[in-house]
Subunit: 427 residues, 2 copies
């Protein structure tokens, strides 16, 4: 018989990884709820035509097939398109609709460099308002999530604005196709470096203009840049509005120490206003651990109705990798050893512990106590409770500390004293 | 433009349903952890050949397709087959391996009577031991889960045993093909009723034997039945072992008030020992809200290595339906109204509340306060905080109780007094 194999490009989350993943999603969900976002789930499968025509050349990455009923179906590629479907399907949703959703998405990408064909997203989006308060709270949420994950001080939030950047390019005489080429190249700035990006830009734009552009891109990303942009775009109405929108959002989320970085392009096809990403300061190579922005046209294109929207998506796997080693929601667990002839006593003892709120696993795998201690090690138990012939004769239980090997005797009766003594020992 | 549609046979979980689903899964996960079970997740997609040949005629319900790389893949049909793959793939798993897993499975069933093509399972399984303690703790876990879900007193746990039932049939002279036919018919007893089942049985077995069988099936499912079976199967070694196994498990989980009901057949193809199901006493028509049993051969068939296993699967959607209306993990939420000209104040106020641990949603959807109150209603908020020109002049915030319409003034400064007064008002 051939050994069953995991599908290429996919992965299992074994208990340790699973606990870290759950920690990230639970912390993020709690913060999203703190801001009044509500949970949503949508199916893994959608009609294929909902997804096609939305992702440009990445469309080839969609898992599509025909089901037995002849329906063309596809595994969801992200959580945004299903959100658009939901937002147009149910007339009684709150307005604005603030929802979060955590779940896997599927992309038939080449499985390399830690890239998987199934990965978790954990998004929050606000649909139905253009208010800059909605944009600003996205940024506050992501800061709160990073803090909750133990990353305070280690991350940086970078803001850009599609409208500001377009207006800036226009003010430098870069428009139409040239503007698109410029944005594409600036999008790769972090990867290519300034020298190479400037050289590439000069194939489309004159050297002087490129220098002017980089002068602005290299300015410190604070108030002074906003002031400079206000002057530079004084003659453009849409540019002025965009800068004022960026300035308002920037001011609202000052406590998150955002940095304005106009070189952030991302999602050229769909972002229309603010764009943001969060990176790890000492490990920018990891890429962004969260990103998002305002996309006022995407929902319209998808759903045919005007639906301004702003959202954020967490890089769940990158966040898991960035977590402190201690970030694991595993509670303490006690293993109850099972001595031959004392099975029922072990079973009842474990029930007694659980009733007192202690996580307790019975070690019934092997009659050998040595194997049972191995089991306790394997599941990361801190203590093992032993109760066999010797202990029964003495009316005690023996508690073995798995780290030190120390064994402590606790009188078995009455139950409340046993529990109190055990809890004292565990804490 | 055509309106995007939900795929036929699938469903969205909108916030209310999603909260109930999450409540069920979180409660179940906490209980599973209490017993030392560890979390696991596996991909939605597997190689198709892992799944085929496992489900008999239900195999046609598997979603299978060829991916772009020419691999034959399938959406998982249950969580048991992926568990078997995991159990044989990683040599360093604890032994026994006690894991739980919650996630969707996919079956291309005809979408009728509330049956969906994607539904949640929440399973716990112990792989690698034949110990009856492992069986008994499954039963205790499911009782604890039902209790945690607020169903105490409303459910009944029914136990059967494949070995006992086979031996019983053999003792009545029913064996081979006749035994299989009998089991299939008894499996439908709850649906067909006794009269019809007996009539159908008499086409294969003589009337006297059918009567003898029903005499035993109709006995009260307690100690007395176990005593009767011990006598009836005295001459069969395997029958004796099976009864003693059933009696041991029955005794261990006495606190769960199990009822022995030999008419429970379920999963004829894979259960080998104890079999159990949990039903709602006053709504048996709902079907079982949880079920499981011991399956010592399935893992061997799947993985080629001996792996005794016992498990339980929750009927997540049936449990959601059975939940008390109040069972919803939505915390209280406060909506902060946004008055024109007081946007920043509303933003800062909502941040102040969140820092104090209060869930607070900004109502930035519409400048009209009436619409904002509608929003508060739509998300189930209990109170709305209002702060506009009048309130600013008086140095207060106004807290509106959404149920009674009562409005209470709270002095805005200092912050700690505002928070204390608000928390008092909320609780």
């Amino acid at each position: 018989m051939e050994k069953p194999r995991l599908l290429q490009g996919f992965r299992d989350y074994l208990p340790h990884a699973m606990r870290r993943r759950r920690f990230v999603i639970e912390q993020a969900s709690a913060i999203y709820e703190r801001y009044g976002f509500e949970p949503l789930d949508t199916p893994a499968l959608e009609y294929a035509d909902l997804l096609t025509g939305k992702y440009g050349e990445d469309e080839k990455l969609i898992y599509q097939f025909e089901d037995r009923g002849g329906r063309k179906v596809a595994l969801r590629y992200d959580l945004t398109v299903p959100l658009a479907r939901v937002a147009t399907t149910y007339p009684d949703l709150p307005n604005p609709f603030k929802r979060y959703q955590a779940g896997p998405v599927w992309r038939a990408d080449s499985p390399q460099r830690g890239r998987f064909r199934e990965f978790m997203q954990c998004d929050a989006d606000t649909v139905g308002t253009e208010s800059p308060l909605a944009d600003a709270e996205m940024i506050c949420m992501i800061a709160d999530i990073c803090d909750a994950l133990g990353l305070a001080g280690q991350y940086e939030i970078r803001l850009s604005h599609r409208g500001v950047f377009s207006a800036l390019l226009a003010s430098l005489g870069i428009s139409g196709e040239k503007a698109t080429v410029t944005m594409r190249l600036i999008d790769k700035l972090a990867k290519l470096g300034q020298k190479e990006t400037r050289a590439a830009l000069q194939q489309t734009i004159d050297a002087k203009t490129v220098s002017q552009l980089f002068e602005i891109l290299n300015m410190p990303g604070d108030e002074s840049l906003l002031n400079h942009l206000t002057e530079q775009l004084a003659s453009q109405k849409s540019g002025q509005e965009a800068v004022s929108n960026l300035a308002e959002i920037y001011a609202l989320c000052q406590r998150c120490d955002p940095v304005i970085d106009l070189s952030i392009v991302r999602g050229l096809e769909y972002y229309t206003g603010i764009v943001y990403e969060v990176i790890l300061k000492n490990d920018a190579a990891v890429g962004s651990i969260a990103a998002g922005g305002r996309y006022d046209s995407l929902m319209h294109d998808l759903a045919g109705t005007v639906m301004p929207a702003v959202g954020i998506s967490l890089g769940v796997d990158r966040l898991i990798a960035a977590l402190p080693a201690s970030a694991d929601d595993q509670g303490d667990i006690v293993v109850v050893a099972v001595f031959a002839g004392y099975e029922k006593e072990a079973f009842d003892l474990s029930e007694e512990l659980r009733r007192a709120g202690i996580n307790a696993a019975l070690a019934f795998g092997s009659p050998k106590i040595g194997k049972q201690l191995q089991y306790a090690d394997a599941i990361g138990a801190r203590s093992v409770v032993l109760y066999g012939e010797n202990e029964a004769a003495k009316g005690i239980i023996l508690v073995r500390d798995m780290k030190t090997g120390t064994q402590t005797e606790i009188t078995k009766e009455p139950s409340d004293e046993l529990i109190a003594a055990l809890q004292k020992l565990l804490h």
